[in-house]
């Protein structure tokens, strides 16, 4: 395997692990309604499986969590008074 490909695969795996960890931090009694999907609503456990498989639903979850994480870097923050 080329070094660049290995690095990409590692990044992808890290991202999946990060999204899984974020989903698993949600209470177990939560389900998520995802319109337009085959099943309609998913438990956190089912979403974790989808993220690991990186199917269409899993990709949406990754995209959503990634948007959030990126937004933290763009946040104007709270001004600190001198």
């Amino acid at each position: 395997m080329e070094p660049d490909q290995k690095s990409q695969d590692q990044k992808s795996e890290d991202l999946v692990n990060l999204v899984v960890a974020r989903l698993e931090s949600m209470p177990a009694n939560i389900s998520v309604s995802i319109g337009g999907s085959d099943k309609g609503s998913y438990t956190i456990k089912e979403l974790v499986e989808r993220v690991k498989k990186q199917d269409e639903i899993g990709q949406k979850m990754i995209e959503m969590q990634l948007n959030y994480i990126r937004s933290l870097g763009k946040s104007p923050g709270i001004p600190i008074r001198a």
Binding site: R22, S25, M26, P27, N29, I30, S31, V32, S33, I34, G35, G36, S37, G40, S41, K60, M64, Q65, N67, Y68, S71
Partner: protein, 204 residues
């Protein structure tokens, strides 16, 4: 003003939309605004297209499942799709709370003369508490997200344009996100969902 509302109820997602849209129906009643409420099994293609042909309403609020080229009613019957009924929304202010409705259908509805349109470019998502499926208005997870999209309809009922209603909703999203960020809420896991639905919302 008269408002036409569809709110099917045949699965968990439409069950939540049905109950949260009840807030809009009640708000319209409080304001003395006439509301054609096509609920549950009344949210069918024949009824919706018939009311639209009679031109009874200035504002149309749709709830249910959808895709880039159509939106559905009860039991996922297609109510309007590209080339089938999209011209019936001419002159109307329209909110479609259905997945991807803003992607293709929204632009087509506008091309055929709608006054304004608010919809979504991607799947609309909301978390919910399983123990609140029978009391969806008390669901602390679904509530903030559905309140933000309800704002579009509430603003339209007040006579606001599609773009103003969209802006009112975005303001509501910011309020909800700030409440979660700055408060002592343990529900910060909701923020990615709020941001997602805010960012995929589009007005024409």
């Amino acid at each position: 003003m008269t408002v036409l509302i569809t709110r099917p109820q045949h699965d968990k997602a439409t069950h939540y939309l049905f109950h949260w849209t009840g807030e809009i129906v009640r708000d319209a009643a409080r304001r003395g605004i006439k509301c054609v409420d096509l609920a549950k099994g009344k949210a069918k293609k024949a009824a919706v297209q018939s009311y639209l042909k009679k031109n009874v309403s200035e504002v149309v609020i749709i709830n249910g499942h959808g895709s880039a080229d159509c939106f559905c009613g009860h039991d996922d019957e297609v109510l309007i799709s590209i080339g089938d009924g999209d011209d019936l929304l001419k002159g109307k202010t329209v909110f479609v709370r259905a997945c991807e409705s803003g992607a293709l259908l929204g632009t087509e509805i506008m091309r055929k003369g709608a006054k304004g349109f608010v919809g979504y470019l991607q799947p609309y998502m909301f978390p919910f508490q399983e123990e609140h499926v029978h009391t969806p208005l008390q669901d602390e997870y679904a509530g903030p997200i559905l309140e933000c999209s309800n704002q579009i309809a509430l603003s339209m009922v007040k006579g606001r344009s599609a773009s103003e209603a969209h802006q009112d909703s975005l303001t509501k999203y910011e309020e909800k996100i700030d409440e979660l960020l700055l408060g002592d809420s343990t529900m910060t896991s909701l923020i990615p969902f709020l941001q997602w639905n805010r960012d995929i919302q589009i007005a024409y």
